[in-house]
């Protein structure tokens, strides 16, 4: 968890995730319960990927995004689901068989009377060191004993 004592510049790493075909099928193949599962598309099927000019099926950008969100949940706890924002650019593809890791660096911290807003640089790094997804995340965490005023 980050808190008001966490030094700016501190980096955080999520676990390495291997983008196996099973994970891609579960994410992009439609619901298991649907007739004809899995749906064939460039995320799940080599032939469809080839039709789109890809050497292999490509992971949906939402998968590395999800790993970054998981890391943010680990860092900011319950607050993320109620006051977490993320802005990402999808820079390079993540293919089936690649491994990626979500990473974050605390870059800013501002406070008002009720809460602290943390800003982090976030990115998803492939096994070859290339950055697949990059951006920033912010989370507003209530100070102990303070109630958020909701409008």
């Amino acid at each position: 968890m980050i808190d008001d004592a966490t030094p700016l510049g501190t980096t955080f790493d999520g676990p390495v995730r291997r983008m196996s075909i099973e994970r891609l099928l579960a994410f992009s193949g439609g619901r298991f319960s649907e007739p004809g599962w899995p749906a064939r598309n460039l995320h799940t099927d080599a032939a469809k990927a080839a039709e789109a000019g890809l050497a292999r099926p490509i992971a949906s950008g939402l998968q590395p995004q999800g790993h970054i969100i998981r890391l943010m949940l680990d860092l900011s706890g319950e607050a993320w689901s109620r006051a977490g924002s993320i802005r990402l650019r999808f820079r390079r593809p993540v293919y089936v068989g690649d491994s990626i890791r979500a990473r974050a660096r605390l870059t800013d911290r501002t406070a008002d009377s009720q809460a602290i807003v943390y800003t982090l640089e976030v990115w998803s790094e492939r096994q070859d060191g290339e950055i697949a997804v990059t951006g920033s995340a912010t989370c507003r965490i209530q100070k102990a004993g303070e109630q958020e005023e909701r409008h």
């Binding site: 995730r17 994970r23 298991f32 998968q63 969100i69 006051a83 924002s85 802005r87």
Partner: protein, 140 residues
Amino acid sequence: MTKFAHELVTGDTLDPLSFTVTPEWNQQYCYAQEDFDPRYLAGRDAGSAEVHPTLLLSMSAYTKSPSFRLAPGTGSIMGEQSCTFLSPAAVGKRLDVTFHVVATYEKRDRRFEVVESTVTDEDGTLILRRESHLTFGSNE
């Protein structure tokens, strides 16, 4: 809405989507993401399990709108996205998604559409607000 996706302009609206997440469907996303946090499985404090965030993101993509249509031989590419989580969504509750084209622009000879999606639950609670910058390419 009868336009192809690449023909949408600012002010266009795609048909809304409603769906209800089952425990099994939620667990499918937990498996896909290797994320078996108890909040997504059985819920905590006797509450409902929460919908996995990637399921919310997946179902709020405008490709999920019933009126989304790609022109033959084209594909959509997401260049940038921002989203804000405003409240957890509960498994078993109906979720409603709206899709609005809020801007278009050109960058490096590509046309982009900015689509705002919102997810609201059956009680009217705003769950997620999302903005996606999409462009289109030929598959041929």
